[in-house]
């Protein structure tokens, strides 16, 4: 019983699917940096607009499924924004006029701006992550890290194998919870609940470790980490598309920061 939705995959060939993953990673990092170097909410707004354009035109991802997939994160961003606004220290600054006053609580303009900036940054992170990882499967990312940036095989493909175990862990977690409920174990009170979660985690980890051991053995049996230099079935080369992507991403980031606010 899997609880994880299927990963988003490109449904049509597109520009970004032909860009190597590390180039997309560089582009994504540029936007990430641009969105956090200033507290002004207009910068992340510009980056989000650019990201939406890139998603629609060049990602090849199924556009109709994206809003549904981002909805939980959207809720998290909304609550993060609300709390950031409510708890902002600028609200205490009596020299600034309050925009909203509710009894003793007052909310100022700068607090709203700072809160929006926090929420919008998370939005930039979410959309750039989609642009970096969405257009190709994780295997290509591992290939790209190893072939283009010379990451160690053990790290890249080991992580990849661990990623394959993750959906099973999610399934095990659900199964373990079901088993406990069916056995009549329903913890009452926070202490019992904590103990229950601990026991559930332990059972899940035992299952995950056993699975990982089997997978590691299977990889060893096929000569992984045999001490010789691996070759690569699929060759990834840096092309003009990569450079174009990086240059455009940097230009967009610079424009987002430099254009008049």
């Amino acid at each position: 019983m899997s609880v994880l939705p299927a990963p988003l995959q490109p449904v049509r060939p597109a520009f970004l699917t032909r860009v190597t993953p590390v180039a997309r990673l560089v582009a994504g990092m540029a936007w990430l940096v641009a969105s956090i170097v200033t507290l002004d909410p207009i910068v992340p707004v510009r980056l989000i607009l650019a990201a939406v354009v890139a998603l629609v035109l060049w990602s090849g991802l199924p556009l109709r499924r994206i809003p549904g997939r981002l909805a939980p994160l959207g809720l998290a961003i909304l609550s993060l924004t609300a709390f950031s606004i409510l708890l902002s220290s600028s609200n205490g600054d009596r020299s600034v006029a309050a925009v909203i006053t509710l009894g003793p609580a007052r909310i100022t303009g700068p607090a709203i701006a700072a809160g929006l900036a926090v929420g919008l940054r998370v939005g930039v992170i979410a959309l750039s992550t989609l642009l970096v990882f969405g257009p190709s499967d994780p295997t290509r990312m591992a290939d790209s890290l190893v072939q283009q940036w010379h990451f160690p095989d053990r790290f890249a493909y080991g992580t990849l194998a661990a990623l394959r175990v993750a959906p099973f862990m999610a399934g095990d977690w659900g199964t373990i919870g079901a088993a406990r409920r069916l056995r009549g174990l329903q913890p009452r009170g926070p202490a019992a609940r904590l103990r229950e979660t601990g026991g559930r985690l332990l059972a899940m980890l035992v299952a995950a470790i056993r699975r990982a051991e089997r997978l590691a053995l299977a990889m060893d049996a096929r000569g992984f980490d045999g001490g010789i230099r691996r070759t690569h079935f699929r060759e990834l080369r840096t092309t003009w598309r990569d450079w174009l992507t990086i240059v455009v991403a940097l230009a967009v980031a610079a424009a987002a920061l430099a254009l008049p606010r």
């Binding site: 009549g184 174990l185 329903q186 000569g223 992984f224 230099r229």
Partner: protein, 564 residues
């Protein structure tokens, strides 16, 4: 690449090696007793060796030793010698062994490394530094050899269990080893997938381009492929090494006494065996009891399917009565697990209803049927229980004794019982043959012990309805008989049992078979009627799989005891 006699392109592989073991003995680090002991045999190049033995006989260790995982990857103590061709296993680096030897494991989900089929086949080649052109040539040919042409771009996780195992075989063929070691490659598969996998192995065996070592419970399918048989006892000692056609009455007796599966057709060899099955019939509940569970028009969409159009369960209705034992069968992905979860109320169907109730006592009409999703945890536990395919996922306690009493303790909470009362857990453990393990951690028990403990955990307050997901998975004949005997005991009080299983051998131990296909019920009737005309295509694997059937735990155990 060369072309074989049939005109098909075949992959070059290393010449098939001989295997020579002399006094081979391996003890895993931290274990006091060897996993295998004193193996001494010589297998000629190009022959097929079938390794037989009960659970815990070290069959998998033999496979690991041939692939060099023992002693090069796993820690332990090695004695004696094992040679594969001219290579001495203990003295050859694992990487060199890996080029000559390929290993397929039992669990398809934990041996596929990559997420795309072509990457998966290339993985082993990459590890051996194959040039890219060679890989691009070999990958499609290897896939074609196992009938997976055109699957290159598929995700490995979207394949069926049988396709996954054939992919694992393609991985090996691509690397071109001379020795193929297959460690229960069909254990996780439904009968049709098992059949296809055996056909694949048979095709490989016919061309004699590889030496093959096959570890397999399913004797009826495996023995015809074998040239030689290595028989191990339950402590990993070699009982026999002989040509397969020499498996006569004595060998069958040896197998039976050692808890291996033996086809029913051969069982008459041991006098009086089949006659005793009649005794069990009386233990069956002759008339159906009161209604315990009713599921009506259930529909469940796959959780990962956002459009909600692909249904795991598509309009299933089923009524379950006290004392019934139902086999729930169907190919992988037919919806068996979804249906079990829906019956417990833990998975809310997208449409339809599930109603169930506790077992009524003789003198009362019983409680009304209730929606399990609305019951409190304590109330559910008295009404329905689920034993998972992997018992470890269901364990809640640190010792076997606590595991048995945990459920009863939770149910009795607040009824004035002493919290330290073990509720008779020790008696239950003794009955389940686990008395000596009362203080042992459940996670440290063997597979068979874990399975029995998962049943023992439900014995103090047995639920009215017991659901079991692949209850005999990974068990040898003795383990299976023990589980069935315990199920007989639990049922004596009127418990209804539903066994979701791939194993046709269990069908004769049930009164009713419910068969699912693509989320719908395609058959509901007696095992005899099911086996006469299985509602699947191809039907033969389902029909023939039962050739190994045991009629009931009690009978078979009585027979086995009598044969000692």
């Amino acid at each position: 690449m060369t072309t074989d006699r049939g005109g098909r392109i075949a992959l070059e592989s290393a010449a098939p090696p001989s295997i020579e073991a002399a006094g081979l003995c391996w003890t895993y680090a931290g274990r006091s007793r060897p996993a295998i002991e004193g193996l001494t045999f010589r297998l000629e190049p190009g022959r097929v060796l079938l390794v037989l033995g009960p659970s815990g006989s070290g069959k998998s260790t033999v496979a690991r030793a041939l692939a060099g995982l023992v002693p090069h990857v796993l820690p332990g103590t090695w004695k004696g010698s094992l040679r594969v061709g001219e290579l001495d296993v203990a003295g050859t680096p694992a990487r060199l062994l890996g080029e000559r030897i390929g290993l397929v494991f039992q669990d398809p989900d934990s041996q596929l490394v990559m997420s795309r089929v072509d990457d998966e086949v290339a993985f082993g080649l990459e590890n051996r530094a194959s040039p890219r052109e060679a890989m691009q040539a070999r990958v499609p040919v290897a896939l074609a050899q196992v009938g997976l042409s055109g699957f290159e771009r598929r995700g490995t996780m979207t394949l069926s269990g049988g396709e996954k195992q054939r992919l694992a075989i393609a991985d090996l063929l691509a690397a071109g080893p001379g020795l193929l070691v297959l460690d229960e490659p069909t254990a996780n598969l439904d009968p049709a997938a098992m059949h296809a996998t055996f056909e694949q192995i048979a095709a490989l065996a016919r061309v004699r381009r590889h030496t093959i070592v096959l570890i397999e419970h399913r004797l009826e399918a495996a023995l015809p492929l074998a040239d030689d048989v290595l028989l191990l006892d339950d402590s990993g000692r070699q009982l026999a090494f002989a040509p397969a056609d020499a498996v006569g009455p004595e060998a069958v007796g040896l197998l039976e006494r050692n808890g291996a599966w033996v086809p029913r057709a051969w069982q008459g060899v041991e006098a009086g065996r089949t006659n005793e099955t009649g005794a069990v019939e009386t233990r069956r509940t002759t008339e159906a009891g009161p209604l315990l569970l009713e599921a009506a028009h259930i529909r469940i969409a796959y959780p990962a399917d956002e459009s909600g159009t692909h249904l795991a369960i598509d309009g299933v209705s089923i009524a379950v009565r006290a004392g019934e034992r139902i086999a729930l069968v169907g190919p992988n992905g037919a919806g068996k697990s979804s249906l079990l979860f829906a019956m417990t109320g833990l998975l809310r169907p997208d449409a339809g209803t599930v109603r169930l109730r506790a077992l009524p006592r003789d003198d009362e009409a019983g409680e009304p049927m209730r929606d399990p999703a609305r019951l409190r945890a304590g109330e559910i536990a008295a009404r329905i229980g689920l034993v998972f395919q992997d018992p470890e996922l269901g364990f809640v306690a640190r010792t076997a004794r606590d595991e048995v009493s945990a459920g009863a303790r939770a149910m009795d909470r607040g009824r004035g019982r002493d919290a330290h009362d073990d509720h008779g857990a020790d008696g239950v453990l003794a009955h389940f043959g686990l008395g000596h393990l009362a203080t042992e951690n459940p996670f440290r028990l063997s597979q068979g012990e874990q399975r029995r403990l998962s049943l023992a955990a439900l014995a103090l307050r047995p639920p009215a309805i017991l659901l079991l997901d692949e209850p005999t998975f990974g068990l040898d004949r003795r383990g299976t008989e023990a589980v069935l005997r315990l199920l007989d005991d639990l049922r004596a009080a009127g418990q209804a049992q539903i066994l979701a299983t791939h194993d046709p051998r269990l069908l004769p131990a049930c009164e009713r078979v419910v068969a699912l296909d693509a989320g719908r019920i395609v058959f509901d009737g007696s095992p005899d009627a099911f086996l006469a005309a299985p509602p699947y295509r191809p039907a033969a694997p389902w029909r023939d799989g039962v050739a190994l059937a045991i009629t009931s735990g009690t009978a078979a155990v009585a027979g086995a005891a009598g044969s000692r």
